[in-house]
């Protein structure tokens, strides 16, 4: 297309990236927060005490509830509390459906000690925030999947073309030169991309794999054909469900679940039971499948299958059924990081932030490159250019502000307010809309400084808000060694400080730029020269040291 291969790929990287950059930024940022979804859940329901019940107690509570509410269900599911991913006892059941349609499904969180359903304030929590990164919001999930999927495909192409066009990918791997204007931004973009390249590739590719059955459904149809029967056959093969017997229709008493759990724990060790999946409870053909905790990226875990009526151990299923399936499951597991301990979880979070920043710097580079030429234009910058510039500011800084607004809404909306969980999310999007409009009313340099200060306040004051509205302030949390709460507060504070630092640096830069511009204004009219935050005044020191 262009004269050389590299130039063509560079064109594709630039324009492909720009087209979907804002959606990708949204996806990466909300997805990154998803690595701490359970912690955010906890912070957003400050009334709930941590669960301490053991597995036997949790089991009897769950069984009692399910017998009470879900007699005759097709399926029960119990996930006992204990680890980070399941802080509370969760039960799920599905009633039989009529004429081919699936019946109603119910999910409940229970207090394992008292058996009450967990109350606490209504909130979207970390889950709703995390869910947006693949299903978006205010639209049917299927449309969200497709939009995110198309953008992810762009991302995959952008990463590969990015590798192709980066001439000195190994030579420049540790290279970042500050205070060099556009050069610094390119350095930073490269550094962010290359240092976490394995993560970027893995997260984009595995993100696509999550919905491969949606995106590439034609490949499935090519082998299995179209229609409901084909779909069922495929599902049976793919999820290896064919060996499950159907319900017999004869009633039978359930064998003791606790005995089955005891057998599972003797196989795997205490605390290793992740879930109990019960097909046709109360039927003579009932099957109880017990799954093990995840301890590696492989997303499937070994399972033990019991006869639900007799309690007899029928089969031990290994985690790996076939090589291609193991590759698929490993990528999904790598994406979700459910196996990650706290240290690894922070690394995931950090890598996610690097990815988010990579997208942000990429979009900024597009506008910085064109800025000098645009400022020279007789009638002022083009509409398209101004739009990109405003969207950049309104998204890169605006979205974090909007997410902070989500947390503010969680503490400030009245606890008994009916549409509370929905309104938390409405607050996020209303604030985001304002931050998208704000750059249109202010000069872009001022806009950046203002919004960075706003973001600093929005995050930095969250611990204070938490202290004013709940009993669980930072000092209490630390003295009670409640690290989920203390960690969340401290993270908010750190983000606030980082934004304040960026705001302060940018303001200093703007001042210097204005001074040098007014000094040179004898010939030209003094248009502000925009010097982005990374271009700093360390240069003089740097020069004496390096030369």
């Amino acid at each position: 297309m262009k004269s050389g291969f590299r130039q063509s790929m560079s064109w594709l990287h630039t324009w492909g990236g720009l087209t979907v950059g804002w959606v990708l930024y949204f996806v990466f940022l909300t997805g990154t927060l998803g690595y701490f979804d359970a912690e955010i859940d906890a912070w957003m329901k400050p009334e709930l005490p941590p669960e301490t019940a053991n597995i036997q107690q949790s089991l009897s509570t769950a069984e009692k509830r399910l017998h009470e509410k879900a007699q005759g269900a097709e399926r029960w599911f119990i996930s006992p509390p204990g680890d980070r991913n399941n802080p509370y006892l969760r039960v799920f059941w599905q009633m039989p459906g009529a004429d081919g349609k699936p019946g109603p499904r119910v999910n409940e969180l229970l207090n394992a000690t008292t058996g009450e359903t967990l109350s606490g304030r209504a909130t979207g929590g970390g889950q709703t925030l995390y869910r947006m990164h693949y299903a978006l919001h205010y639209m049917p999930p299927n449309i969200g999947y497709w939009i995110v999927g198309i953008c992810s495909m762009f991302m995959l192409v952008a990463i590969i073309t990015g590798i192709v066009i980066h001439k000195k990918i190994f030579k420049d791997i540790f290279t970042f030169r500050s205070a060099k204007g556009q050069r610094s931004w390119l350095d930073m973009h490269n550094l962010l991309s290359v240092s976490a390249l394995p993560f970027h590739l893995m997260i984009t590719y595995s993100g696509l794999l999550f919905f491969v059955l949606t995106y590439m459904s034609l490949i499935v149809a090519g082998t299995y054909g179209f229609g409901d029967d084909a779909k069922n056959n495929f599902t049976n093969d793919f999820f290896s469900e064919a060996d499950k017997p159907a319900a017999s229709g004869n009633k039978a008493n359930m064998a003791e679940l606790s005995a089955m759990v005891a057998i599972a724990e003797s196989h795997w060790g205490a605390g290793q039971v992740r879930y109990l999946d019960i097909d046709y409870p109360g039927d003579s053909n009932a099957r109880v499948t017990i799954g093990r905790q995840l301890d590696s990226p492989l997303r499937s875990a070994p399972e033990l299958v019991f006869d639900g009526a007799t309690g007899e151990l029928l089969t031990e299923k290994s985690a790996i059924t076939s090589q291609p399936r193991a590759v698929y499951d490993t990528f999904l597991g790598l994406h979700e990081g459910l196996f990650a301990n706290i240290g690894l979880r922070w690394l995931y979070f950090f890598s996610g932030l690097l990815g988010t920043a990579m997208i942000a710097t990429g979009m900024l580079l597009w506008s910085l490159k064109r800025r000098p030429a645009q400022l020279q234009k007789a009638g002022g910058p083009d509409f398209g250019y101004r739009l990109v510039e405003s969207l950049n500011l309104g998204t890169i800084v605006g979205l974090p502000i909007a997410i902070a607004a989500y947390f503010w809404a969680n503490r400030l909306l009245p606890v008994d307010f009916a549409g509370r969980a929905q309104w938390e999310m409405h607050c996020l999007f209303i604030v985001w809309l304002f931050t998208l409009l704000y750059p249109l009313m202010r000069s872009i340099n001022r806009g950046w400084v203002d919004m960075l200060w706003l973001a600093a306040a929005a995050f930095g004051l969250l611990p204070l808000l938490n202290a004013l509205t709940t009993e669980r302030n930072l000092f209490n949390s630390i003295s009670r060694q409640d690290w989920v709460f203390a960690g969340t507060d401290l993270t908010f504070l750190t983000i606030g400080i980082a934004f304040a630092f960026a705001a302060w640096r940018l303001r200093e830069n703007n001042k210097t730029a204005e001074m040098s511009a007014s000094a040179a204004s004898t010939q030209k009219s003094s248009r502000e020269i925009y010097i982005p935050p990374a271009a700093t005044t360390y240069s003089s020191k740097q020069h004496t040291e390096t030369h």
Binding site: K2, M9, L156, V157, V220, T223, S322, R325
Partner: protein, 104 residues
Amino acid sequence: MKPMTKTLPSESRYRWQITWRIVTAIFGGFALANTSGILLTYLLPMNKIDALTTSMLLSFGIYAGAVMWVFSHRSLFKSLAGIWIPASVFFAIIVVFKLIGVAP
């Protein structure tokens, strides 16, 4: 390079080129990823579901490769033909396989 300095006809020709390429990259790439995926499922020496999983795993790579192909060649014809011709051929083979009963 510099489209600014070129005359208007070549500017509009450039736009048409880009449009064709984008359409081919998105839809042609998708068609190629799917047809080659189906064909791979038939040809891979594994059981049905493993072959299917493998070709689904590979399909995004094929798609990404196709997109890069479309934008990497100077000649518009070469870029477009390199996608649509194999996609059509693969589709024809799939249909033939189905008709003679080789494919499931």
